[in-house]
């Protein structure tokens, strides 16, 4: 995973509440069983006036000239709600987005962001609104978002922060606790034998 330390980019506002993962990447745009080939389908229903012909809709924020190359999206409440499809985050990453700043996030989407090096920042709606189309400087270690003279701080739990800063592979990290997991499992096997099944496949 690419570490996230600092980021300077314009903030592209998609300031709607309840932006769902079907809007971020519709099911029909998930054409392969892998994690790639998704950027073109990002926000397809809003980004294209004719989805099949890929005709850009000039009124959609992502298509504006100042949004080109932008790496930060601003959202409203409950951003990323709906389907758990990690393809939504894979599509964002492939398109070049590294940070989403929103009033609040749906939990599965937020966890998917952290696993893929995308920083989810939660800020009050009025603050998010004020960042629209500004050039932002984000510093994860300092937990700050700076827009010109304005500086604000955000909170994020320690573990996701470390994961993002160091680009850690979380499975490797957990496998270091292999002995603790094995000891716990041995004890649990006695306490709750019905959990442990015979292999049937």
């Amino acid at each position: 995973m690419t570490p996230f330390t600092t980021l300077c980019s314009i903030a592209i506002p998609i300031l709607r509440d309840n932006v769902d993962t079907d809007a971020i990447i519709p099911s029909r745009e998930m054409k392969s069983t892998g994690r790639t080939g998704l950027a073109e389908g990002l926000f397809a229903p809003w980004r294209y006036s004719d989805v099949a012909a890929r005709v850009p809709d000039p009124t959609f924020e992502l298509n504006r000239s100042e949004a080109q190359g932008g790496q930060i999206i601003l959202g409203g409440a409950n951003f990323g709600c709906g389907s758990s499809r990690e393809h939504a985050v894979w599509a964002l990453v492939e398109y070049g987005i590294r940070c989403v700043i929103a009033e609040s996030f749906a939990p599965i989407f937020r966890a998917n962001c952290i696993r893929n090096g995308v920083l989810p920042i939660t800020l009050q709606r009025s603050v998010v609104d004020a960042l629209a189309w500004h050039q932002l400087e984000i510093d994860l270690a300092a937990q700050t978002v700076r827009a010109g003279e304005t500086n604000c701080t955000f909170t994020i739990e320690d573990e996701p922060r470390t994961m993002l800063l160091e680009g850690l592979d979380v499975i490797d990290l957990t496998l270091k606790a292999r002995d603790a997991i094995a000891a716990w499992t041995d004890a649990d096997r006695t306490a709750r034998p019905w959990v442990y099944l015979e292999k049937t496949a």
Binding site: R16, N18, T162, A177, I181, T185, L197, T200, A201
Partner: protein, 462 residues
């Protein structure tokens, strides 16, 4: 000696699964069951194989084909979605290589993940169960802590038998009183989300409780818990009771009986404190229907459309103040992990018997939630009642719950659907979805327009 502090059911399950809490605050939590489907399963298994990571305990990982399988009778690996077969064949190959149990396209136990897991006794009270599917919370109806995750988290769960998560806060949603006739678990869920918002449960593990919840049968409890993700809750669950144990006892992967005292401990202690509480009077609820593009845009069916975001009104083609009853419908769908179990189909069949789907309806479909539900419904003659009325009877799968490129209707078509999501484009480009109970789908299919199931029930009773 001091009494131990009363604990919530969530805290009991959490504490029983917490292996360690790290210095950074998140906990390493044991995962008892993982379920995969073909839409996200192949990606996770392939990625693990590429990284050289085996599945930690294959006997506790299951997979099924449900999302993009063809639901037309006589199906094979072909899909209506272009390129969809690869998801099926690659999931099959990856499941075989990983040594996990797969319920394949035409397996007698095939069905929607959250329908077959309880049917087979894979989910149990007190277990942790995860799947890369947001509606995994459905399975909390059996007293499990069950929640949806992404593909990367699924890899983590399969590779390590654990997840690293922050402890959520607790919420209790209590439904007091008794539901009126014609009002269902689906209406309870929609009423909760309409009142408290699609983000209302964010950060919380939600226990559903109260007289009206206890009165629900197990399948209806699944309908209620199914919508917890539409409330942005991490999980939704109901303490197991005699109905739960009777439902599960002896199922294939479940214990033969639940006689040990342990099972009776799986409930919130009296006096347990929740971080948040919501109380809803179930007796005040009416059949609900969504008017807009989020489940929070839901309303009593006999009311007027409230003012919402203009974008939602524009998409759905209904302005504030409009009457919902009588809104013409093009498609009627009964299916999905929300409302396609045998009890749903029985109630729907009882209402539709002796009636015909309106000629104004372009398509009317019943898609059973599992192959077992399909067989049981056919044994009772429900399929004949539906087809006689003008519904098409299908094989089990997710079907019209979402659009992956298969069955398509003209833009602007309006559906009445027993599913869980009414997002823009969820059922296809430009499709206007109204989610409601199976009863409301039936009443509307007969009328050719959104109709109150209580009126139809009165007519049927006469």
């Amino acid at each position: 000696m001091t009494q131990p502090a009363p604990k919530t059911l969530f805290a009991k399950i959490w504490d029983a699964h917490r292996i360690e809490t790290g210095s950074t605050g998140s906990s390493l939590v044991a995962i008892d069951r993982v379920f995969l489907h073909e839409r996200t399963g192949a990606a996770a298994l392939k990625s693990m194989a590429a990284a050289g990571r085996p599945v930690h305990d294959p006997a506790r990982v299951f997979a099924v084909m449900d999302h993009i399988v063809d639901t037309r009778i006589g199906r094979g690996d072909g899909t209506l979605m272009e390129g969809g077969s690869a998801f099926i064949t690659e999931t099959r190959a990856a499941a075989k290589a990983a040594g996990i149990m797969l319920f394949d396209v035409n397996d007698p136990d095939q069905g929607i993940t959250h329908v077959i897991s309880p049917e087979l006794g894979i989910v149990l009270p007190g277990v942790t169960l995860v799947a890369p599917d947001s509606h995994t919370c459905t399975q909390g109806a059996l007293g499990a802590l069950a929640w949806g995750i992404g593909s990367s988290e699924a890899e983590h769960a399969m590779a390590t038998g654990t997840l690293r998560i922050e402890k959520p806060r607790t919420m209790r949603v209590t439904f007091t009183g008794t539901l009126a006739p014609g009002v269902t678990a689906k209406d309870m869920a929609l009423a909760l989300i309409a009142a408290h918002g699609a983000g209302g449960g964010a950060g919380h593990a939600v226990e559903f409780a109260g007289e009206a919840v206890e009165a629900l049968e197990i399948e209806a409890r699944m309908t209620l818990c199914n919508m917890a993700t539409e409330f942005s809750a991490m999980a939704g669950f109901i303490a197991p009771d005699a109905k739960t144990f009777a439902y599960l006892a002896g199922r294939r992967y479940a214990p033969a009986h639940f006689d040990e005292p342990y099972w009776q401990t799986l409930r919130s202690d009296e006096g347990a404190v929740f971080d948040a509480e919501i109380v809803i009077d179930a007796s005040s609820l009416a059949p609900m229907v969504s008017w807009g593009t989020s489940p929070q845009h839901s309303m009593p069916i006999d009311g007027a459309v409230p003012q919402g975001p203009q974008r939602a009104h524009d998409y759905i083609g209904l302005e504030a103040g409009a009457t919902m009853l009588g809104t013409p419908i093009d498609v009627a769908f009964i299916g999905s992990c929300t409302n396609a179990r045998l009890s749903d189909l029985r109630r729907a069949a009882a209402l539709v018997k002796g009636h015909k789907v309106s000629p104004a309806i372009r398509k009317a479909l019943v898609v059973p939630g599992s192959s077992a539900v399909k067989r049981a419904a056919e044994a009772e003659g429900l399929d004949a009642i539906f087809t006689e009325a003008g519904f098409e009877w299908r094989a089990s799968g997710c079907s019209l719950c979402f659009f992956a490129g298969g069955e398509r209707f003209p833009e602007g078509s309006r559906t009445i659907s027993s599913t869980n999501r009414n997002f823009e484009g969820r059922q296809g480009p430009g499709i206007r979805t109204h989610i409601a109970s199976p009863e409301t789908v039936i009443a509307s299919a007969i009328a050719g327009a959104i109709a109150d199931p209580r009126e139809l029930a009165k007519e049927t009773a006469q």
